[in-house]
């Protein structure tokens, strides 16, 4: 087990190196000059340009830029953003907000998705099941920003139950509606996955044996069908948490949430290489850790799986 975890962590090294190199290459190849963009309509003097280029290593070949970034990253020095703030501070401010938002979305989607999927699976082909299938299809088919604006309009503007945007104060109540919107698509997938998995397990041999023991339908469904059906759902949720943590650009944009998605979006627009690459590196690390946790959780849920 210990060896398995060490191996998995070692695997993260080439992943981080590859991902940052790729981002460096993409930012380097991107059309437009970030320094010109920074100054807008105003002309840039050669001296200022040379100074900025030297400060952000823009004057060096991109491989060298990348190596210099790695060297800094090892000492937690991620450089400065164009506005002069240390990138590490930006990340330290944005990630807690995103983590909070992601966990709220995760709880909403898993509780609602599993409950609805459980019931739809048992009542296959009945009214509730058909309704849920239509609802989930709708959620998957309609782009997320539509729901975002719709919720904002209904709850924020018309009913005024919640603030229209989150802004600087990322409190639990303010994040509730963005979290719901963020979890909506995954809710549909969790519902469908739970439902399919339930239907499959309902006809399993061991479920029939459990009924033959004299257990009631409720006991059988909860103990023997649901728990077995949750294995693929947990795998999905784990991977999904990684995605949610890596930022929800659209949702954070609509509700003006000061999270990672927003930070990355602004950095990309301005061509701030150090910020983009730093954010991506943290995202990659989160992904790697999350997928390791999911695999360990998987082994805990399913005793047949043992890692070595």
């Amino acid at each position: 087990m210990a060896w398995y975890i060490i191996r998995r962590i070692l695997q993260a090294v080439p992943v981080v190196l590859g991902a940052t190199l790729l981002i460096y290459a993409l930012v380097f190849l991107r059309p437009g000059d970030p320094i010109v963009a920074l100054f807008g309509d105003k002309p840039v003097s050669e001296a200022v340009r040379a100074q900025i280029e030297a400060q952000y290593n823009f004057d060096k070949p991109f491989l060298v830029q990348w190596l210099l970034f790695l060297k800094g990253a090892l000492t937690l020095d991620l450089g400065l953003s164009f506005s002069g703030q240390p990138v590490i501070d930006l990340i330290a401010r944005a990630f807690p907000v995103t983590i909070k938002l992601a966990f709220m979305a995760l709880v909403i989607e898993s509780v609602l998705g599993i409950a609805a999927g459980f019931y739809a699976g048992i009542k296959r082909g009945k009214l509730f099941d058909s309704t849920m299938l239509v609802v989930s299809l709708l959620v998957i088919a309609v782009p997320i920003f539509v729901f975002g604006f719709l919720m904002q309009l209904v709850f924020g503007v018309k009913l005024a139950w919640a603030p229209v945007t989150v802004g600087g104060d990322a409190s639990f109540t303010r994040l509730l509606i963005p979290a719901f919107v963020l979890g909506l698509v995954s809710f549909a997938y969790v519902l469908r996955l739970t439902r399919t998995s339930m239907i499959e397990n309902l006809t399993a041999d061991h479920v029939r044996t459990a009924r033959a023991k004299g257990l009631t339908d409720g006991q059988v469904n909860r103990r023997h069908v649901l728990r077995n059906s949750l294995i693929p759902v947990v795998t999905y949720l784990g991977a999904d948490l990684g995605t949610l943590m890596a930022g929800a650009i659209v949702t954070e944009g609509i509700f003006n949430v000061p999270g990672v998605g927003n930070l990355a979006w602004r950095a990309i627009q301005q061509g701030e290489t150090p910020t983009i690459v730093s954010v991506v590196t943290v995202m990659v690390l989160i992904y790697v850790v999350m997928s390791l946790l999911v695999d360990l959780l998987y082994a805990w849920l399913d005793p047949r799986i043992r890692y070595a």
């Binding site: 060896w3 006809t203 041999d205 044996t209 033959a212 023991k213 004299g214 257990l215 006991q219 728990r227």
Partner: protein, 567 residues
């Protein structure tokens, strides 16, 4: 006269398919008296399992009882309320299901799953139930029950799981135990131990048993009373010995005639000798051709396959990089397969017999030792051309005809594939060859356009045989080729294989766990145990005078082997 415990009157069960009801059981009647063992015998699709599931109200999918009644202790449970039937399950009627591998929930400890049965029946709770679970597991013949109760199903072998399921079925001391093919997924020796134990337990407890099986020998040995089902109907019922010795219905007569465990030994050895003589004659002519020509593979020797000191060691994955563990699957096995004869390799699961087959097929490289095909060491084959030349001469037929045919390929395409791969003949020639092959395995030409899911298990296995013969091989490796088939179909395929051997001079390597079928097809027998060869002798010797204790155990385990039939 006591009242029957279970009485089924004119039971009809049907499955809904769209708007129509497809009948599965059409008028089954039977009675089980307290403490009695009754066996329902029939092939797959006969409705025997459906009848069993109808009794405890666990028909799968859209199945429902359409007519008739099921009286348990005088009450009709076919039309009882859900609550009443749940109350009967487990506490009055126990079930020991068919496949021990899939019938335990993989996520819960074995002990907990048995405890559930006790709690559901309201017999014991908490600590008391835990203690009772250990007693039950011990009673079911599981050593070290206290530790075992805390383990998960995947830590159990098939036999152990079945013991756990028996403990579960008997946990609440039901009056009737339904045993649905309780041992058909297990090795013969394990099967015997478990059935002996089940017999003793149910005798001691006075539990009536309804045994569902396709194996007539097993049914006759274990049950007082037989019920023979065919196509959803009960065709014959009566005392076991009476049915066995004087079967009235033509279907029962056929069943008894084809059951390998019951068939007369003398008759078989005579038939076998005739087949062998013919096959060897044909094979000799073929060998001469091979020896004289220079286009074909091999030298035309009398010994067509020879294995010398075959050993296969598998590394066990996992653990720290510097710790290596290994498992020896096959340990120094040597044998010769003579042209035109059948060599059977017999052993329980895990004995290494299939690994030997894979090495002979050159699908797996031996760790040490060699396989020589007609004088050529197959490990020296180089390049695709030599490989193909070898593969042409050695073809396999595998156990599961459902899995060994590509579901997306038509039967025509499946049989044509080897011909295509080896670039044999033009389109028209290939078609003529496929016609001939289908004819040889007694399938109509119309089958060629169908797909595997449209064929029965027996038909599929015929297709697999036709495909193996497409390249006119000298050797066919039959890896449990008849084990998954019903008795009647099994007998048909075995006689087809014998006919083809006589006609084409084929040599067979016949791998099986079932000694009973060996007598019908093999000339020599290799017995393997845990990777080692323990006995090598002719069929007659093995059956009349087994030298090894292990072989004797395998022979004793053949169900119904000792029952005398009047002829």
């Amino acid at each position: 006269m006591t009242e029957p415990l279970l009485k089924i009157n004119d039971l009809h069960v049907a499955f809904r398919q769209g708007r129509t009801m497809v009948p599965a059981v059409q008028g089954a009647s039977l009675a089980v008296y307290p403490g009695q063992t009754v066996a329902i015998v029939g092939e797959s699709g006969s409705g025997k399992s459906t009848t069993a599931h109808a009794i405890i109200g666990l028909l799968p999918g859209t199945g429902q009882v359409t007519d008739g009644e099921i009286l348990f202790e005088g009450r009709d449970i076919a039309h009882a309320s859900k609550k009443d039937i749940v109350a009967v399950r487990g506490s009055k009627i126990g079930l020991v299901p068919q496949d021990p591998m899939s019938n335990l929930n993989p996520l819960y400890r074995v002990g907990k799953q048995i405890k559930e049965a006790l709690e559901a029946a309201g017999i014991a709770k908490g600590k008391a139930a835990d203690a009772r679970v250990i007693e039950l597991l011990e009673e079911a013949g599981l050593p070290d029950a206290e530790r075992r109760a805390k383990q998960f199903p995947h830590e159990f072998s098939g036999g152990m799981r079945q013991r756990a399921l028996i403990a579960m079925g008997l946990a609440a001391r039901p009056k009737l135990l339904i045993a649905d093919e309780p041992t058909s997924a297990l090795d013969v020796t394990v099967q015997k131990q478990i059935l002996d134990h089940l017999d003793q337990l149910t005798d001691d407890l006075g539990v009536a048993v309804l045994l569902i099986t396709h194996d007539l020998g097993l049914a006759a040995e274990r049950a007082d009373h037989l019920v023979v089902m065919y196509k959803g109907r009960v065709v014959e019922s009566g005392p076991a010995l009476q049915i066995l010795q004087h079967p009235q219905h033509p279907y029962s007569q056929r069943l008894i005639k084809s059951a390998p465990s019951l068939a007369s030994q003398r008759l078989l050895s005579q038939q076998r000798a005739e087949v062998r003589e013919q096959a060897q004659e044909v094979a000799e002519v073929l060998a001469d051709e091979v020896a004289q020509g220079d286009t074909q593979f091999g030298e035309g020797l009398d010994v067509v396959v020879e294995a010398k000191g075959l050993t296969k060691v598998f590394p066990i994955p996992g653990g720290a990089p510097w710790k290596k563990s290994e498992f020896t699957a096959v340990d120094d096995v040597s044998f010769q397969l003579k042209r035109g004869t059948t060599l059977a390799i017999v052993g329980e699961s895990g004995s290494g017999k299939s690994t030997v087959a894979q090495m002979v097929l050159d699908l797996l490289k031996p760790t040490s030792g060699t396989v020589e095909f007609d004088g050529v060491d197959i490990s020296t084959l180089r390049g695709k051309k030599e490989q193909l030349a070898f593969r042409r001469q050695v073809q396999p037929v595998f156990q599961n005809p459902y899995a060994s045919l590509d579901p997306m390929y038509s039967i025509y395409r499946s049989i044509e594939e080897p011909l295509r791969t080896h670039k044999i003949g033009t389109g028209a020639e290939r078609e003529a060859r496929i016609r001939d092959l289908l004819d040889k395995v007694s399938l109509p030409w119309a089958v060629s356009r169908r797909f595997p899911n449209e064929l029965s298990g027996g038909q599929r296995q015929r297709v697999a045989v036709a495909r193996a013969l497409a390249l006119q091989p000298e050797v066919v490796i039959l890896d449990e080729a008849v084990s998954a088939l019903d008795v009647l179909v099994q007998a048909q395929i075995l006689s087809l294989l014998a006919d083809l051997q006589a006609e084409l001079g084929l040599s067979y390597l016949f791998i099986t766990h079932d000694l009973a079928v060996v007598r019908q097809i093999a000339d020599d027998v290799l017995v393997m145990e845990r990777g080692k060869l323990v006995e090598h002798a002719s069929v007659d010797e093995v059956f009349s005078n087994p030298r090894q204790e292990y072989t004797r155990r395998l022979l004793d385990a053949i169900p119904g082997g000792s029952i005398e039939l009047s002829r």
